[in-house]
Symmetry: C2
Subunit: 404 residues, 2 copies
């Protein structure tokens, strides 16, 4: 049994017990790799992580000379895994699908601590001040908040009727916001430390919010709805204004899509003036004005868009697609709103991440076991790294961005 | 003689000779402090620099627990000094008024290299890809470009008729942009490496551009004019569209202000929808719409504004003022466009810098020898550091931001 299993908190032990009683398989753990040497004195502004989903591994990379610096194994089930970074950019918090929350030391190339905080989780967030890490859970529903330094549990917030909890983001001024899939709610929580939690609950926000995003300015929280068309919008600067319905044409319409076909809202791209999001169940990207969240144009694309990623300068959007069109990436010019480039990186394009200032974009190509690196302006390939079944790519500059 | 003086390049030696021939005093140099221990393994995302103008020193700080980590001395004349960071956030490039360009290792707490690249310089920039550092000079005019790794001179771009060169910024896709004060020009240069430089020159752009800024998306370059009212705008996405005159009410009007009374354009704040800039020679902040650069409102303030700084969430603006009103900071709410708070940090408020996600703001109070730290939401003081005659404050997350 790995050493860290001795460090289970009471909450973790209870959770494991519940899971075993419920007949769920015990999560599989792997011991961290034998100690490797730390990287030595270096900056952390050009670091990043790539998730190797199948093997429970995170690959540590740097984007200055485009190289692999190491890997950390033993992270459990990393399907749909996501990552946030500590505010000093030394540590990564990995949210696994199996409820695992793992703190990785990027410079030390090792696991600092790993806790199994829930049974089936779907992402997390780090507070604006970097002190707290929150995780939203499917099973049991609810949100758990941890000290970002120690990963000690500091707050446990059950959901109404045990609802699945999704779309968790951090918001300015000590807040976390999340949606309750089964009870049709959005909760805005202010957490200033253990024992100091207040929650503003919005009910009847629309049927079955399945994911959500926060605008880069931290002002608007938008939840996608699985149970009906449109999206639910909350203005965090004015909670009294309540929930507003926007983007009526966004939805399943008459098609009854399964929930896993609904695009994640991280796929929503915002530039200064506009925002762009994947249309549900259509080969289309929707173009919205920046303040009214009204659709003013639509761009036809190659397949069902998954991620629409805006370059940091807002000039172009890079779009990938769902199976069976997931071998292609299209680039849209935001002024003409036309596709200006079609790329074929290879089978299973999963994710795209721009370098901090946007000179290059990294693309994970799962079924070709590689990450390709493109000049974002010339739109030509300038590098490639071997990575086993890569999915998410996360660079450390996210540490300084709201909602990332 | 300090060891690094043995390392003068031919260009540097020529410059020094020219300076001596012209009867200008030889720049004063100080040896770097005795070797100090490096900081050891740590992240660099929460680091920053504060300029101690009078003593030629840069103080290294961190913003997680708000402490001073060290200082680097021997940087020459740091009046109006500014700083950019390497893309890995380990190194700071300090642009001194005396033409000194110094590369500091934040983790090593030491000078890596220092070159005297011009006689009287006014700021610099680092390329989007982090490879090149450019400096704009008053005397002699023109721009010099250096390898960011070695500080070797890689390009020397003289100005028309030796014009003073100002408002230098980096722009996306391998570009630097600057203005020529004496010849009324703006130059857009594409530099891909030694020997690969092309320049698009705009002439007759308006009388005497004295400073400039680039919008955070890297699209628009705006120069302030000393010789007439209004500002000169270039759309870097469409150079053929030429120069456009905007913000006609911005200018000296009938008052003939000296150039040092013109507010620096770093004092221009942009949020998602709008931008805000200090009115020249008036107790007023101008509010512009984000795309047309048209004034839609004006906010009366306490004195002549110097810096208008927007919180990362765009909700509030923090404003400081010129002498004799430089003991006050006012906070403006961007929705109501009213002053919602007046603070008196102390005499000589010089600069303000938000932490990466905007939970706190640091304020340098020169004549009280301190830097004050405020909770950006409560607008209350939460900390203070002793710093001798502090001026500019620069945090490392700028490394990931266009134009910073």
């Amino acid at each position: 049994m790995p050493a860290w299993r001795d460090e289970l908190s009471v909450a973790e032990a209870e959770f494991l017990a519940e899971r075993l009683i419920a007949g769920l398989p015990e999560p599989e753990f792997r011991e961290a790799e034998a100690t490797v040497a730390p990287l030595g004195l270096r900056g952390t502004g050009d670091l990043g992580c790539i998730i190797e989903r199948a093997s429970g591994t995170v690959v540590i990379v740097e984007t200055t000379t485009n190289s692999i610096l190491g890997e950390v194994t033993g992270l459990g089930d990393l399907s749909h895994a996501s990552i946030v970074f500590s505010r000093d950019q030394r540590y990564a918090y990995v949210f696994g699908r199996d409820g695992g929350l793992t703190k990785i030391d990027l410079l030390g190339r090792r696991i600092v601590r790993r806790v199994i905080q829930g049974g089936n989780s779907i992402g997390g967030a780090i507070s604006q001040d970097g002190k707290w890490v929150a995780v939203s859970n499917y099973e049991p529903g609810g949100v758990r908040i941890f000290d970002s330094d120690t990963l000690d549990l500091v707050a446990d917030v059950p959901a109404t009727g045990g609802s699945k909890t999704v779309g968790l983001v951090e918001a300015p001024d000590h807040r976390f916001v999340w949606s309750l899939f089964d009870s049709d709610e959005i909760w805005v929580a202010r957490f200033r430390g253990p024992g100091d939690l207040t929650i503003h609950k919005f009910t009847e926000i629309g049927a079955k919010p399945y994911d959500a995003m926060i605008t880069p300015d931290g002002r608007h929280y938008v939840a996608g709805l699985f149970g009906e068309d449109g999206m639910a919008l909350i203005d965090l600067w004015d909670l009294e204004s309540g929930v507003r319905r926007v983007v009526d044409e966004q939805g399943r319409g008459d098609e009854k899509l399964p929930v896993y076909k609904m695009p994640h809202l991280e796929g929503w791209a915002m530039t200064n003036a506009h925002s762009y999001l994947p249309a549900v169940g259509r080969n289309r990207v929707l173009c919205l004005d920046g303040t009214g969240f009204k659709v003013f144009d639509r761009v036809d694309v190659h397949g069902r868009p998954v991620f629409v990623v805006a370059a940091p300068d807002g000039r172009r959007l890079w779009v990938n697609f769902a199976y069976p069109d997931n071998g292609v990436v299209q680039v849209i010019d935001t002024q003409s709103r036309r596709v200006v480039k079609r790329l074929e990186p290879g089978p299973g394009v999963m994710h795209m991440e721009f370098t901090p200032k946007g000179e290059r974009i990294w693309i994970s190509v799962r079924d070709a076991n590689k990450v390709e690196i493109y000049d974002a302006y010339a739109m030509t390939k300038v590098g490639e790294l071997p990575v086993t079944k890569p999915s998410g790519i996360f660079f450390t500059h996210r540490a300084g961005q709201l909602g990332k």
